[in-house]
C-alpha cells in the first residue's frame, strides 16, 4: 500500500495517466453523470464507489468508449480519447471488464485467450505462451479446454480477467469484478491485481465491496446522483460523513 506521501510524489512527477474533465451524460430525463472531473495517476489502484445509480458504471462506460459524453473530455497520457471506439481504446492500452461477464461462450477458454492476444497484435506463438502462463496464474488449468460458456460464473470472470491481460494494458477498468464471486476466486483476483500493480499496472476499480476496496485501493472517488461527493485517500473517503450518508440515506434503484 502506498502512503499519502508516495502518492503525492507520483502525482507531482508526471502527467496523470487518465484525465477526466467535466464529463456529463444524460439518458432521457435522467442526468446520470454531472460534470465529473478526476485524474488517474500512474500506478495507482483507484476505487470508484457510490450507491446504486450514482453513475459509476456510466463513467466507466464513457472511459471505455461504450458511449460518448454529452460534454467534457477524457485524456490518456495527455492525448484526447473522448470519441474513440472500444477497439481503438483497447489498442491504446485501455481495457475493461464488464459487470455481466462477457466471454466467447462457444470457444474453449484457451481459445478465448488466444483470440484476445491476437487481437492486440501478438503473434500466434506469443499468444500461445502468454495464454499458458495466464491459465496457470489464474488456476484455470483444469477447465482450459472446456467451452467458455460451460465455466462457472467465477471461472468466467477469471477468464475475462485473463483476456484483459494477454497484453498488459496501460490501465485496466474493472466493473464490479468481485460481485458474486467465490471467496477463493476473489483471493486469486485480488492477488493478481496486487502483483500486477506492484509492477506498475494502473487500475480503476468500480466496486461495492468495501472490505476489498479498503485493502486494494490507494485512493477512492465516491459518487452520488451523478456527481463526485468525495475523493482522496481511501480511508479518508470511507470515513467522510457525506459518503456514509449517501450509502445509508437511500437506494437509487
Amino acid at each position: 500500500m502506498l502512503d499519502s506521501n508516495q502518492i503525492k510524489k507520483i502525482k507531482m512527477k508526471v502527467e496523470p495517466l487518465i484525465r477526466v474533465e467535466g464529463i456529463s451524460k444524460r439518458f432521457g430525463g435522467n442526468q446520470a453523470v454531472d460534470h465529473v472531473s478526476f485524474d488517474v495517476p500512474h500506478g495507482i489502484i483507484l476505487g470508484l464507489i457510490g450507491p446504486n445509480g450514482s453513475g459509476k458504471t456510466t463513467v466507466l462506460n464513457m472511459l471505455s468508449g461504450e458511449f460518448f459524453p454529452d460534454e467534457g473530455a477524457t485524456y490518456l497520457e495527455g492525448r484526447p480519447i473522448t470519441r474513440l471506439s472500444p477497439s481503438q481504446l483497447a489498442h491504446l492500452g485501455v481495457t475493461r471488464m464488464f459487470q455481466m461477464t462477457r466471454v466467447f461462450g462457444r470457444l474453449s477458454a484457451f481459445d478465448n485467450l488466444l483470440i484476445a492476444g491476437r487481437a492486440m497484435g501478438l503473434t500466434a506463438a506469443e499468444a500461445s505462451a502468454r495464454a499458458q502462463s495466464l491459465i496457470q496464474e489464474l488456476t484455470l488449468e483444469h477447465v482450459q479446454y472446456l467451452d467458455a460458456g460451460q465455466l462457472s460464473g467465477g471461472q468466467k470472470k477469471l477468464l475475462e480477467f485473463g483476456m484483459c491481460f494477454m497484453c498488459p494494458p496501460k490501465v485496466a477498468l474493472l466493473d464490479e469484478p468481485f460481485a458474486a464471486v467465490h471467496p477463493v476466486m476473489r483471493e486469486t483476483m485480488s492477488r493478481f491485481i496486487q502483483s500486477r500493480n506492484q509492477s506498475g499496472q494502473t487500475f480503476l476499480l468500480v466496486s461495492h465491496d468495501m472490505p476489498i476496496v479498503k485493502i486494494l485501493c490507494h485512493e477512492c472517488i465516491c459518487m452520488n446522483t451523478g456527481k463526485i461527493i468525495s475523493q482522496g485517500l481511501t480511508r479518508t473517503v470511507l470515513e467522510d460523513p457525506n459518503v456514509i450518508e449517501a450509502y445509508l440515506g437511500g437506494d437509487h434503484e
Binding site: 432521457g28 461462450g105 462457444r106 460458456g149
Partner: protein, 297 residues
C-alpha cells in the same frame, strides 16, 4: 373527392385487419424479444378453419368464426410449448443465440405448415361464406362490401377488447409486468411461462380471426399468410417493436398509404411498397415510430 374518401375508408378497413394481425406479433416481441416468422400461418389456419368448417361441415358461419379463433389459439400454445420454451426455461444449447434460434425455427415452422397444408388439404377450392347476406352497402357516396363492414366492426371490437384486457384485467397486468421485467415479475409470483403461453394464444387467435374474416374475400391458399405476415413485420417495426398502440396506429397508416399507392403510383408494386418502407425504417430508425429505446437494436 369521393375517390379520396373511398380510398381512405377502404384503406382504414384494411388497416384494421392488419392491426389484428400485427398486435399479436407486437405482444410476442414485447415479451420474448423475438419475431415469429410463422405468424402468417395463424392467418392461414384461421382462413382454412373457417372456410372448411363453414362449407364442408355446413356449420353456421359465426360458429365457424369461433372455431377459427380457437384453432389459432391452440396452434399458438402448441408453438410456445414445443418450440419456444427452451429459450427461457432449462438448458438450451441455442440459448446464447436465442434471436437466431427463433429466426431459424419459426422460419422452418412456417415452411413446414405451408407445405403440409398444401399436401394434405391443398388450396381450398372455395371461399368462405359471407357473414351477412347483403353484399353492397352504400354509405353516403361510397359503396362498401357488406362482409368488409362486418369484419371491420368485429376487428374494432376485438382490438378495443384487447386494449381493455391488457389495461384492466389481472392477466393483462401480469402480461405488462412480464414484458417489462421477466425476472422481477417471477419474483413477484407471476408465472412467466404461463403468461407467455397466454400471449401466444392471443396472438394466434387474433391472427386466425383476421384470416377467417378475410376468407370470404380471398381464396384460401396454403401460402395466403405470407403477405399478411410480411406486412405485420413491417407494421411492428414501424410502430416500434413491442408497442401495441404503435402497431395499431402503424397498421392503419399502412392500410391507407397502400390504398393510395396502389391507385396513384403502381398497382403491381403495391406489396413491395411495404418492403421499401421496412428497409428504410430499419436503416434510419430502428426503434420505429413509437417504440422504446432498448440496448441495441
Amino acid at each position: 373527392m369521393p375517390l379520396f374518401f373511398d380510398l381512405t375508408i377502404n384503406g382504414l378497413i384494411m388497416g384494421l385487419f392488419y392491426a389484428l394481425m400485427a398486435v399479436g406479433l407486437a405482444m410476442i416481441f414485447g415479451i420474448l424479444r423475438i419475431v415469429n416468422f410463422a405468424h402468417g400461418e395463424f392467418f392461414m389456419v384461421g382462413a382454412y378453419a373457417y372456410a372448411l368448417t363453414a362449407m364442408k361441415l355446413g356449420i353456421n358461419p359465426w360458429f365457424a368464426l369461433i372455431l377459427a379463433a380457437v384453432s389459432g389459439a391452440f396452434l399458438g400454445v402448441a408453438i410456445e410449448k414445443l418450440l419456444m420454451r427452451p429459450l427461457y426455461q432449462g438448458y438450451a444449447s441455442w440459448s446464447i443465440v436465442k434471436d437466431e434460434y427463433a429466426v431459424v425455427v419459426t422460419f422452418a415452422l412456417s415452411l413446414f405448415l405451408i407445405h403440409f397444408v398444401d399436401k394434405v388439404i391443398g388450396p381450398s377450392p372455395f371461399m368462405g361464406p359471407s357473414l351477412v347476406s347483403t353484399q353492397r352497402i352504400a354509405i353516403g357516396p361510397i359503396m362498401l362490401n357488406g362482409q368488409k363492414i362486418i369484419a371491420a366492426g368485429i376487428s374494432i371490437s376485438l382490438l378495443c377488447g384487447l386494449a381493455l384486457f391488457i389495461k384492466k384485467s389481472l392477466w393483462g397486468r401480469q402480461i405488462q409486468a412480464v414484458a417489462q421485467n421477466r425476472f422481477g415479475s417471477s419474483l413477484a409470483g407471476i408465472d412467466p411461462v404461463k403468461t407467455t403461453s397466454i400471449i401466444f394464444a392471443i396472438s394466434g387467435m387474433l391472427a386466425a380471426l383476421s384470416g377467417a374474416l378475410l376468407a370470404p374475400i380471398m381464396n384460401p391458399a396454403p401460402d395466403i399468410g405470407s403477405f399478411p405476415a410480411l406486412k405485420s413485420f413491417i407494421i411492428v417495426v414501424l410502430g416500434g417493436i413491442g408497442s401495441i398502440w404503435g402497431s395499431m396506429f402503424a397498421a392503419l397508416l399502412l392500410g391507407v398509404s397502400e390504398s393510395f399507392f396502389a391507385v396513384y403510383i403502381s398497382y403491381d408494386y403495391r406489396d413491395a411498397f411495404g418492403l421499401f418502407i421496412l428497409v428504410a425504417v430499419l436503416i434510419f430508425r430502428p426503434h420505429g415510430l413509437a417504440g422504446q429505446k432498448g440496448r441495441g437494436a
